[in-house]
């Protein structure tokens, strides 16, 4: 098959190139230039492109660079800033996967005559009863099914995850054996467009107006002040200017009212959560989910909570089996089956 492999310059996509070659595919590597501004982390610095290109040369495949910086700004950076203005907690990596790695790259791949688009994500696509299904990667600690949960049924028939069945240690070993310069490269951690020296606040400062806010307790008494309500996240405990005393957590953020409410940890627990922006990997076959108890993951490597899902139209409600710590609006939840292996769907927290 003719495979378009997204190569970030990291070890996973480097090893993926080796795996695909080994399988006899005709591979073209592509590095997506996403962020045009300054940054020293993540997957689109010039040195990462150098790594990707050099690995492609070593493996013996062509390497291209596609400039998707305009789409990246439109679908990832601008919404990231807007989320902060609205007081929600965005997940830019998921939006990047949704709109760039998959939407845009799949469109390109199909237009250019490729049979598949591959990435180095740790997730697996398995076939059950003639249906392609998305499953967790073999390495439980490195599993990335959460960040690729939005793939549709059509996408799953077109996408490949060549290292999804491997342990991370096997990936590194393969890259080492292949003499690839990325073999020992650390995993990327942070948001790729935010430099480690400026941080989130430094990135947002020139892009929005920070507003100070009163920090109040449940009775409405002012107990502190924060310089930027836009930077406060539900569940946050530090940086609220509260001094010592009992542990208190952010239990509500009201940006228009410039008010942050704090309370006991117990106030963070809820029995229901509303979800929107739903995505279903099996062509909207929601029968596996609706009215069923599923496992819900609310962050990239977070714990799972059990809950029953009730779909109504474009939204749904999770009724937690036990009170669940609130997940900040804007964050993504992904549903897994009872074995905690198969992705059933996902969405974005509304409230």
């Amino acid at each position: 098959m003719k495979v378009l492999l997204a190569m970030s310059g990291g070890v996973d996509s480097s090893a993926a190139a080796l795996v695909l070659r080994e399988q006899g595919h005709d591979v073209v590597g592509v590095t997506m230039r996403l962020w045009g501004g300054e940054s020293d982390t993540g997957c689109c610095s010039v040195s990462d492109v150098d790594d990707a290109r050099r690995v492609a040369q070593q493996v013996g495949v062509d390497h291209l660079v596609f400039n998707f910086s305009e789409e990246f700004n439109q679908h990832v950076v601008d919404p990231y800033v807007k989320s902060h203005v609205e007081g929600t907690t965005p997940n830019p990596c998921i939006e990047c996967n949704r709109h760039l790695k998959f939407d845009k790259l799949i469109e390109r791949g199909r237009a250019l005559g490729f049979d598949a688009v591959a990435t180095g994500h740790h997730a697996r696509i398995v076939e059950q009863d003639g249906v392609k299904r998305l499953a967790r990667g073999a390495d439980a600690l490195k599993d990335q099914s959460y960040v690729v949960h939005m793939l549709s049924g059509e996408d799953l028939s077109y996408v490949m995850f060549p290292v999804g069945h491997m342990q991370k240690s096997e990936v590194r070993e393969l890259a080492t054996t292949g003499g690839l310069r990325t073999a020992a490269k650390p995993d990327s951690q942070d948001v790729c467009f935010i430099g480690s020296t400026i941080g989130r606040a430094g990135f947002l400062e020139p892009r929005l107006t920070f507003n100070s806010a009163q920090v109040v307790d449940a009775s409405g008494d002012t107990v502190g002040e924060v310089p930027a309500v836009e930077l406060v996240t539900l569940g946050q405990r530090r940086g609220l200017g509260l001094g010592g005393g009992d542990k208190r957590y952010v239990v509500a953020v009201d940006v228009p009212a410039r008010r942050v409410t704090v309370g006991d940890e117990s106030e963070l627990y809820v029995s229901e959560t509303r979800i929107g922006t739903l995505s279903w990997p099996y062509n909207s076959d929601t029968s596996l989910v609706n009215g069923t108890e599923v496992l819900v993951q609310g962050s990239a490597h977070g714990d799972r909570g059990a809950g029953v899902v009730a779909i109504d139209g474009d939204e749904l409600t999770i009724r937690w089996s036990r009170p669940h710590r609130r997940i900040a609006p804007g964050q993504t939840v992904v549903f897994y089956d009872a074995s905690d292996t198969m992705v059933l769907g996902g969405g974005i927290v509304l409230s």
């Binding site: 590095t31 010039v46 492109v49 660079v65 596609f66 400039n67 305009e70 250019l112």
Partner: protein, 388 residues
């Protein structure tokens, strides 16, 4: 290790504005200076004197092709060095303001921006309007240098340097008037350009000379601060051991380019017209960026509205047709063209731009193959295409 041998497949190479293949005559002339005649021409022994003679002869030949005095020639490392020397060197010498056109190559534009200079807008077809230049210079104090390219590297648009020079002489009489003539050497008689400017920059590999070689011509009586200090080999205006082989290759390539220019302009101009006609008549969304007669004979710049250059380039590459779009950044990604943006070309057209640039190896078969491949690529990407 990547193979350095000549590709076995027949490639259609229409990217001469990026680089033109080394002319065989230049290659042959350079050969002895790699191994046998290795002396440093700045030495005093007979071996060095031989090398010095070779450079002196090369300088004479280059001066002949430009119509300047041999002493006005400075051999450099390429077009970027020449442009940087002219703009930054002039500003450093007088402390004045740098002025350039919005469509300049980044080698000029980034220098002017670096010294907070003035960038002059261009007309819809690409050239600078001399009246706009005159007005800009009239309202700008203490202009140190004005830089306007002879020919644009993306579109091939030609500037009227004679009229612009009148504006410079009148409104900024103390300024150095520099032209980046990198894209002009194959297409315009440099003797018709040199009388209008004080400084002129060339890049050898654009006219079939070696990479890493350039020429800066600086009129006697005009001086700029040198970028490179050291042994003062180029009359203290540029330092660094002479690249003897490179200088010889440059001079041979420029001499041949000059001799063959008139016939090549006629031959390739006709092929360029055929190429533009072929693409714009077959591909419904394709338009020629320049009106006929505005540009040099060697460049066919088209915009395929609604398509993406990156996809077109990939499919053309698969069909063994080598062309380009706008310039690439350090990562290798295509950057949206600042040239087309300055000309006011709509974004949807800019995104689908392609540059076919012809040169001394181009044949009619190449042009026909490029038309076919472009039509096929556009069709594959969903554009309406008619059969020939």
């Amino acid at each position: 290790m990547a193979s350095a041998s000549i590709p076995s497949r027949e490639y259609v190479y229409l990217d001469h504005a990026a680089t033109s293949p080394l002319r065989p005559e230049a290659h042959a002339a350079m050969e002895p200076y790699g191994d046998v005649m290795y002396a440093n021409p700045s030495g005093s022994h007979r071996f060095a004197r031989e090398a010095r003679q070779v450079i002196d002869e090369a300088r004479d030949a280059v001066a002949e092709a430009i119509g300047c005095a041999p002493g006005e020639i400075i051999f450099t490392s390429g077009g970027t060095e020449g442009a940087n020397s002219a703009v930054l060197g002039a500003v450093r010498r007088t402390g004045g303001t740098a002025v350039c056109a919005a469509t300049e190559h980044h080698a000029v534009l980034h220098c002017v921006e670096h010294v907070q200079g003035v960038v002059v807008p261009v007309t819809e077809q690409g050239p600078v309007d001399p009246d706009v230049m005159r007005e800009t210079l009239r309202t700008t104090d203490n202009v140190a240098v004005v830089s306007v390219m002879a020919v644009n590297n993306e579109t091939g648009a030609i500037n009227n340097l004679e009229l612009i020079s009148h504006a410079v002489r009148r409104q900024a009489p103390n300024a150095i008037f520099h032209t980046d003539a990198v894209q002009a050497a194959c297409w315009l008689d440099l003797r018709t350009i040199w009388p209008h400017v004080d400084a002129l920059t060339l890049s050898a590999h654009k006219f079939g000379g070696p990479k890493g070689m350039g020429i800066m011509v600086l009129r006697n009586g005009f001086n700029v601060e040198p970028l490179l200090l050291g042994g003062g080999q180029e009359r203290d205006r540029r330092s660094g051991t002479h690249n003897v082989a490179g200088i010889v290759g440059t001079s041979v390539a420029l001499t041949i380019t000059d001799e063959k220019r008139a016939s090549e302009v006629a031959r390739l101009g006709a092929l360029r017209d055929e190429l533009i006609h072929g693409i714009t008549s077959r591909v419904e969304c394709a338009t020629a960026t320049l009106a006929p007669g505005v540009g040099i004979a060697g460049t066919a710049h088209v915009c395929l509205e609604g398509l993406e250059s990156e996809s077109l380039l990939y499919l053309l590459d698969e069909a063994d047709v080598c062309v380009s779009a706008a310039s690439a950044c350090a990562s290798g990604a295509m950057e949206p063209s600042h040239v087309l943006a300055a000309m006011g070309v709509p974004r949807e057209r800019i995104k689908g731009s392609l540059r076919f640039s012809l040169g001394h190896t181009t044949t009619r078969q190449h042009v026909q193959a490029a038309v076919e491949a472009t039509a096929a690529a556009a069709s594959r990407l969903g554009a309406k295409v008619s059969v020939s």
